[in-house]
Amino acid sequence: MIDFVNYFINGALVGLLYALIAMGFVVIYRASKVFNFAQGELVVFGGFIVWWMVASLGLPLSIGIPLAFVAAALFGLLIERVFFSRLAGESVFAMVMVTIGLLILIRGLILVLFGPQVRSFPIIFPLQPVIIGEILIPRSLLIGGAITVIVGFGLSWFFNRTRAGLRMTAVAEDHQVALSMGISVKRSIAFAWILGAVLSTLGAIIFLSGKSLNFLASDIGLAALPVALLAGFEAIAGVLLAGLIVGIIQGLVTAYLDPIVGGAIGTVFPFIIMLLILFIRPTGMFGWKTIERV
């Protein structure tokens, strides 16, 4: 029984981590209607910026991490300036395909700037786990989970309640209509990428704290995909719930089904969930339901 509780809680916290990474997807989608395939690469890039600031330059954490967020924001802005500002108002297809080009490009950039070696990521959260009775909880995931919940509700409030957020929501609905209403699509997209890059860096800090880092860590981007899909690409707070669901299911499947089926059913299971969602309810739990009469 105590094992079950352990798996359950750890699954839930890993799920919240997925939710934070998925929030990067959702924010970019919610402010620019672009589906970002390079999300995993953004996470790894953010991780390397933190590593560079803290481990390589030797800055203390209290200066290094804020500087890393600034650098990530600048990187997001750079991506928008170089690629997406020229595509504002163009077809969404081209923009999404550009993110595929970005995936290859950022991966190359990481290899050029930081090399393929495995680096040890600085320990940002203390390593000792939190112990309650017989339940062991990794401290980084616990703090990360709390941060994720706060960020999730904060962003949800921003996109649903403030003027600036609603403007971006209009961009996500339709570029042309937003343009004709006098909303700057370019500015919205720029903000989306800045926010996406910063969130990815935050995700990298929580995900990688005290672990090893190389360019292959970008797989987390794909692992977070089912979470974004279950929530629906437009729902920010919904991502939290979806992350919990996917994380708990994955944790329990890894614990109880892996010994039976063998192999990595735990890592594939989110994708099976994803296929099921796509078939049953493609808009996810909280996504916008666009009405199409055919």
Partner: protein, 350 residues
Amino acid sequence: MDPAGVFATSFERDQALIRTRGQCVALVLLFVALVILPHVLGPRLVAISTNMLIMAVVVIGLQINMGYAGQINLGQAAFMGVGAYATGALAIKFNLPFWLSIPFGGCAAAVFGFIFGLSAVRIKGFYLALTTIAAQTLFHFLILNLPQSWFGGSNGLTLEPAQIFGFSFVSETSIYYLCLAVTAAMVFGAYGIVRSRHGRAFVAVCDDDVASGLMGINVVRTKATAFLIGAFYAGIGGGLWAYYVRFVAVDQFTLFHSIWFIAMVIVGGLGSITGALIGVFVIKAIQESFVTLGPSIVAQFPSLGGDVVFAMMNVFLGGIIAAFLIFEPRGLMHRWNILKRSYRLWPFPY
């Protein structure tokens, strides 16, 4: 468009693939060049050419699926892998000759692709692309977790060389000719498909699926057919790959490979079979020249290190893909068509 003075006087002429004598001559010259190529080039270049021919088959499949029918497919490498594994398993377990195992491998991939194409019943657009990512992970999971006696699991499959009438395709040159023959047939088939009613249905669905549904096209069936054909091409390419490398392993068919295939389609030009061929040639040539020039660049600038040169290739190619999407979304083929049109109309532009 046709050059001045060329008019189609019958339906057959209007539908013909080869429209002028110049095109006929160019095609024959190209074919002669491809046939004598292994006798002129060194073994390494022949190996690269063989690789290009195999990729060409896979990318043409993706072109039909993505360029014509407009269904984004991020799982083409998985479909290729299914073809390669099916071909390998048939050749090893049932001792089928290659001229049976490769087509069966293609059919196996087609069935796998068709299943994912069927999801078009419920979903479209980028959501459909996500199911193909799921195809990629499922493919890896299945191969690694099915009983090892079926597909070799993590050990991969090792094949005997392809054999016909006692002749076995061992040498680089002979496997090149095998790939050339198959690729030529597949290219010809692709031209046939895209000008048939199915090809026209693909283009209609790509342009607007609501409108094409109103015109009486069965949209779901068309999308699923596009996946079927695209995956069949990928499977044939995978079968050739299995006989070329004679070793099949899961990590030859990753999501990253699928992304490269998409890059080839984008650079060559969406919606053109010739564009797919050009895309394969250009991207593969850039990759290989980086690989070839890499050591000498490192020798010139020892401080760079070998890794940086290969990483630069990724930066360069990623930049190229983005640049094409921003400045020329219709690819190299569109540029070529503009050029052709302008010299055909010269000196009277109207």
